[in-house]
Amino acid sequence: MTEDQNQARDLPTAGRRPPHAENPDPGTGDAAPESNSPSAEANRVQSTPSRDEATVPTTRPPFTAPDDEVTAPLARPPAPAPADDRPPAPAPADDRPSAPAPADDRPAGGEPATSPESGRDLDGPTRRIPMSLEPVTVETEAPAPSATGPGAEPVPEAVDPAVPEEEAQAEAAPEAPAAAKAAAPRRLTSAGTLILVLLALFGFTLVVQLRSNDGDQGLATMRQEDLVRILSDLDASDSRLQSQISALETSQRQLSSGVAGRQAALAEAEKRADELGLLAGTLPGRGPGLVITMDKVKASAILNAVQELRGAGGEVLQLGGSNGQSVRIVASSYFVDAEGGGIIADNARLSAPYTLSVIGSPQTMQTALQIPGGVVASVNSNGGSVTMEQQAEVEVTAVRQAKTLQYARPAS
């Protein structure tokens, strides 16, 4: 029994395989599994299981033929399969379906799933039915004698898809050039216009998408979570930059205050250096003061005058002779009477009359010099002469070289 059935199954399967193998072949030799999917995409959406399942059993039979349960669905495909088989080889096909189709359908016919499978299998061939109208009639004849429930089921299904799916026939019309060409143009207009509209829409959308992608560089097309992530990133970097800004501002304040302090210290030091330079005689000076001219005097009289002027607040003094020499008078200055007239002040020989320029309060110094028994009185009593002139601007141009101290060091 089983052996006979197996042989019988092998026969139709072997007879059926070639047409299925022929279908993918025109497309691609190696892309046989793919050929099902892309070539008939509508089948995937509409009735994806149909062709996939139709292909699966065709590949399986050689491996799982012995099993009765598996062979039941395997044998079912052969029932509709002859529709494919018969057109090329009608003669042997008559024998095969008559034997296996009713025999195998009966045991498995009770299952509900089998009938749709067979019906789906029928979908495939029915699309090509216009190519082979004869096999349909043969098939109806074949199950008719069986007259059983399962045998009857495929028949109406085989008829149903064929009749209502006029569109399917129309679609199959281009494949079958012969008969359906008359009805083809009218049918094509409805589906064809839809295709044209879809293609136009596709091009339109494509361009729109390309343009929009060109235009706004991303952010507008991004998802909400991406935007949130970007926003949080920006917030984090913003706070980081804010802290950086505050730190930099602090250091800038510190540096600028340091600069200001340094500038103040520098100004103070320069001021102090100026004062010290004036006192030490290294810098020329100017200011209000007295210009005193003395003639026929000795060095002691000049020394008295210098001391009196210092006591009266004279700050910067200079002693000049009529021979053009002038000496800056500082703490270490000395005056000695020179032989043959004139005096020697700080290694410079000066000849009379002498000009003593002093910067200070003119009134105070003049008063100090003119007190009774003072410098002017003693010079006059010794036969000398003193003239004083108050000036708003006394120029002291003579300077001394700063002397490097050899022993003394600052205590601090």
Binding site: E41, A42, F202, F204, T205, L206, R211, T221
Partner: protein, 110 residues
């Protein structure tokens, strides 16, 4: 031929009118375009195979676009929109490559 003209007409319309994509559609439009591209290549291949079917093409075109957009929408709702759209693009890209390979074999026999 007419199909190519329709495609060109759509492109021209897109260039001329240059509409802005509404914000809610922005994440789905690229995926839909890729799905439609897949359907178009499948249709070309079917045409070359001689098994082109108008109804199949229309249904596959629309359903491809809708399913792709639906998957992305579902991914957005689940919080994995980016990954799912990447997956859809990968799958469609593989299919497009297969279809283009078949078309190439048809046209160049290589």
């Amino acid at each position: 031929m007419i199909a190519v003209l329709a495609l060109v007409a759509g492109v021209v319309l897109g260039i001329v009118f240059h509409p802005s994509v509404p914000a809610p559609l922005l994440p789905y439009l690229p995926i839909a375009v890729v799905a439609a591209l897949d359907a178009v290549f499948g249709g070309v291949r079917a045409k070359l195979d001689g098994i082109f079917d108008d109804k199949q093409f229309v249904v596959s075109f629309i359903s491809n676009v809708l399913v792709a957009a639906l998957i992305v929408y579902l991914g957005d709702q689940l919080g994995v929109g980016g990954q799912l759209s990447t997956g859809v693009v990968v799958v469609l890209g593989v299919r497009i490559f297969g279809n283009v390979a078949a078309i190439r074999r048809h046209l160049f026999r290589a």
